[in-house]
C-alpha cells in the first residue's frame, strides 16, 4: 500500500497541481494577513474560504484523479495485489497531498506573521485540522461517486451536486425548516443538523472558538455548553472521523465488488 501511495503521491506532485494549490493558499494567507494584519480576523475570513473551498477542491480532485488514472488502476488490478490496498493507496495519495498543500500553504504565511507568539495558535491549528478532515472526507466521497459511475460526465455531475448539497443546499433546507417550525423549540434540532453535515460542523467548531461566537446569542451559548464539555469535544471529532471512515469503507467495499 505504501508503494501505491508513493506512486500516486509523486504522480500528483509531478502534475504540479498540488503546487498550484499550495501556491494559491500561500497567496491567500499572505494577502489576508497583509490586508488586515490581525491574526484573529484573518482566521475568520480564512474559515469562510476553507469550509467552502477545501471540500470543493477535494471533490473535484478526487473525481478527476480517479477517472484520469483509470488505466493505471486497471494495470495494477492485473497484478497480485489486494484491491483494497490499491484503492486505499490511491485515496491516501490524493488526500494527503491535498491536505499537505493546505497545511503548508497556510502555515507559512501565518508562521511569518508570528502565529506561534499569539494566542491564536490553537484556533489556527483547529482550522487546519478541520480543513484536513474536510479534504479527507470529500475526496473519499468523490472517489465513491467515481466508482459508482463509469460515465465521466455523470460522475462529475454527481460529485459537484454532492458538494453543492453539503455547502449550500443543506443550509438552505435547514434554514427553511427552522423558519417553518419556528414555533417549536429548535435548539436541539440546530445542534443535531449541524452535526450531520461535516462542513457545518467544522464551521461551528471554529466559530465557537473565535470572538465572533458572542454573536450567536442564546443558541450559541447552548452550543458552547455542549462543545465546551469533554463529551461534546470528543463527539464532534468522532463525528468527523466517522464522516471520514464511512465513505472510505464504502469505497473499499465497492472496489472489492466492482467488475472492472
Amino acid at each position: 500500500m505504501i508503494k501505491i501511495f508513493k506512486y500516486s503521491f509523486s504522480d500528483l506532485m509531478r502534475s504540479r497541481w498540488s503546487f498550484i494549490y499550495l501556491g494559491f493558499y500561500m497567496l491567500l494567507g499572505f494577502v489576508l494577513l497583509f490586508l488586515n494584519n490581525d491574526l484573529s480576523k484573518g482566521i475568520i475570513t480564512l474559515m469562510n474560504v476553507i469550509v467552502v473551498l477545501t471540500p470543493m477542491i477535494g471533490t473535484i480532485f478526487g473525481v478527476m484523479y480517479f477517472y484520469n488514472s483509470r488505466e493505471f488502476t486497471e494495470l495494477l488490478l492485473a497484478q497480485p495485489v489486494k484491491r483494497s490496498v490499491i484503492f486505499l493507496g490511491q485515496y491516501l495519495g490524493i488526500s494527503i497531498s491535498l491536505a499537505m498543500s493546505l497545511i503548508i500553504g497556510l502555515g507559512i504565511p501565518f508562521l511569518v506573521y508570528g502565529v506561534f507568539r499569539s494566542g491564536e495558535i490553537f484556533n489556527f491549528l483547529l482550522l487546519l485540522i478541520a480543513g484536513g478532515f474536510l479534504t479527507f472526507i470529500f475526496v473519499a466521497i468523490s472517489v465513491c461517486i467515481a466508482l459508482f459511475n463509469a460515465n465521466k460526465i455523470k460522475g462529475f455531475g454527481y460529485a459537484i451536486l454532492m458538494w453543492l448539497f453539503f455547502a449550500v443546499i443543506y443550509d438552505g433546507l435547514v434554514l427553511l425548516s427552522m423558519m417553518v417550525f419556528a414555533d417549536y423549540p429548535l435548539d436541539d434540532f440546530a445542534l443535531l443538523v449541524s452535526f450531520l453535515n461535516p462542513i457545518d460542523l467544522s464551521r461551528i467548531m471554529i466559530l465557537l472558538k473565535l470572538d465572533i461566537s458572542a454573536l450567536l446569542g442564546y443558541t450559541g451559548a447552548l452550543f458552547q455548553r455542549f462543545f465546551g464539555t469533554n463529551l461534546g469535544f470528543v463527539m464532534s471529532w468522532l463525528m468527523l472521523v466517522i464522516w471520514t471512515c464511512v465513505p472510505v469503507l464504502l469505497m473499499v467495499r465497492i472496489a472489492n465488488k466492482k467488475n472492472f
Binding site: 443550509d171 438552505g172 423558519m179 440546530a190 449541524s194 470572538d211 443558541t219
Partner: protein
C-alpha cells in the same frame, strides 16, 4: 474666622475625627500622610478637608467612611479604603445626603462597597476621583459613582473600574458627565434612569460587562463618547430604552457585540457617529418612531441594521456604509443607487433566532446577495437614498 487645622501623628490632632469635631464651619483641615481609622465620620458643617499625598482614611470594613451631611463640604486628595459591605445598607466610601455645593475632588477610593454615593443633593462637583474594586458578581458589589435624586451635578474626569456600575444616575437632572473613564465593571459602564436634561460628553466606556444602559429619560445629549469592546453574549455598547428627544452625536462604537440597541425610543437624532466592527451596529426593536440617522459611519459590522418588524418610521440618510457597492456618476459625493442596510439574514435571525447557527455559511451570503438585488422581505422604506461615498472624518 476661618482656621486651618492640621492632622498628623504629632500635630494638634492625631485623627481627623477629632479635628472635624472641634472645627468651626468654614475651617480647613489638612491631613498629613498616614493611615487614619475613621469609620462613619460624620461631617455636619461646611468644612474643607484636604489630604496630602498618602493620607489614607480607613473605614475598617464596617460602615460608611465619610458621611457628608452639610452644604459646601470639600473633600480633596484622600485615599479612602475599606468601607463596610452590606446587603441591606448602601455603605460607601463617601456618602453625601441632602447637600448643596459639595465638592469631591481627586480622591482614590479602593476596596469599598459603593464608591461615591450622593443623595438628594444639588450643585455638587465630583472631579478627578479614581474608584476601583475587585467585583466579580453583581449582587456583591456597589457602584462607583452613584447619584440619586440630584440636580446640577458635575461629574468630571473620574475613573471607575472593577465595580458593579461605573456611574449610576437615577432621578438626576440637568447634570453633566464629562471625560470620565469607566472600564472593566461587572455590569454597566454608565447606567442612568429617569434622568432628564443631562449631557454626557467625552467619556470612554470600555470592556464593561454589559456596556452602557440608559433608560426612561428625556432630553439627553450624548456627545463624543467612546464605547469600546463591550463584548459578550448579553452585552452592548449603548442600550437606549424609552429615551425621548435625545441627541447622540459624534460617538465612537467599536467592537461591541451590539453597537446601539434602540428599544422604544423616539425622536432621537444620531449624527456623526462611527460604528466600527460591531456584531450588530444598530438593532432597532419595539416602537421606535421618527429617529433620524444621518452622517454616520458604518464600517465592517457583521450586521449594519437589524429590525424586528417590517414597519419603519425612522430615516437613514447620507450615512457612509462600508458595504455599499454603488457608484456616483454625477460626482456629488452621494451614491446614485440607494443602499438597503437590513440584510435578509438579519431579518431571518430576528424572526427565528436559532438560525444564527448558519452565520457565515455560503448559503447565507447567497440569499443576502439575492435580497440585495431584489428586496422582498426587508422593510421597503428602510433605505438610505443618499449614501455617502466617502467616510466622514
Amino acid at each position: 474666622m476661618r482656621a486651618e487645622r492640621k492632622v498628623c501623628q504629632d500635630c494638634e490632632y492625631s485623627n481627623p475625627v477629632q479635628a472635624v469635631k472641634e472645627a468651626l464651619p468654614g475651617d480647613t483641615i489638612l491631613v498629613a500622610a498616614g493611615s487614619y481609622k475613621c469609620p462613619g465620620l460624620e461631617i455636619t458643617k461646611p468644612l474643607v478637608l484636604i489630604g496630602e499625598l498618602g493620607a489614607t482614611l480607613d473605614g475598617d470594613n464596617q460602615n460608611y467612611v465619610l458621611r457628608l451631611l452639610a452644604d459646601s463640604i470639600v473633600i480633596s486628595g484622600f485615599s479612602i479604603i475599606n468601607s463596610g459591605k452590606s446587603y441591606t445598607k448602601d455603605f460607601a466610601a463617601i456618602y453625601a445626603h441632602g447637600t448643596s455645593g459639595v465638592q469631591i475632588l481627586y480622591n482614590h477610593i479602593d476596596n469599598s462597597f459603593f464608591g461615591i454615593l450622593v443623595e438628594k443633593s444639588n450643585g455638587g462637583v465630583i472631579r478627578g476621583n479614581t474608584v476601583s474594586g475587585t467585583a466579580r458578581q453583581e449582587n456583591q458589589a456597589g457602584n462607583g459613582v452613584h447619584l440619586w435624586h440630584c440636580n446640577h451635578m458635575q461629574i468630571e474626569n473620574n475613573e471607575v473600574f472593577g465595580m458593579r456600575d461605573g456611574i449610576y444616575l437615577e432621578f438626576v437632572d440637568e447634570s453633566d458627565a464629562i471625560k470620565n473613564y469607566t472600564h472593566h465593571n461587572v455590569r454597566y459602564g454608565l447606567h442612568f434612569m429617569f434622568s432628564n436634561h443631562d449631557a454626557y460628553i467625552d467619556n470612554t466606556f470600555e470592556s464593561n460587562g454589559a456596556g452602557v444602559a440608559v433608560m426612561f429619560s428625556k432630553w439627553i445629549r450624548m456627545e463624543n463618547n467612546r464605547f469600546i469592546n463591550n463584548w459578550g453574549t448579553a452585552s452592548y455598547g449603548l442600550l437606549l430604552k424609552e429615551i425621548y428627544d435625545g441627541e447622540v452625536l459624534n460617538n465612537l462604537f467599536e467592537q461591541n457585540t451590539l453597537g446601539i440597541y434602540v428599544d422604544g425610543s423616539s425622536r432621537v437624532n444620531y449624527k456623526g457617529n462611527t460604528l466600527r466592527q460591531n456584531g450588530w451596529a444598530i438593532k432597532v426593536s419595539g416602537g421606535c418612531y421618527t429617529n433620524a440617522f444621518t452622517s454616520n459611519n458604518f464600517i465592517g459590522n457583521s450586521f449594519d441594521i437589524s429590525y424586528n418588524s417590517k414597519m419603519n418610521d425612522n430615516t437613514f440618510n447620507g450615512n457612509f456604509w462600508s458595504e455599499y457597492t454603488g457608484y456616483d456618476l454625477d460626482r456629488d459625493g452621494n451614491g446614485d443607487v440607494p443602499y438597503r442596510p437590513v440584510k435578509l439574514f438579519s431579518y431571518i435571525v430576528n424572526r427565528t433566532p436559532e438560525t444564527i447557527v448558519l452565520l457565515r455559511s455560503l448559503f447565507v451570503d447567497l440569499i443576502n446577495f439575492s435580497e440585495k438585488v431584489s428586496p422582498a422581505f426587508t422593510p421597503d422604506d428602510l433605505v438610505d437614498q443618499t449614501p455617502s461615498m466617502k467616510k466622514f472624518q
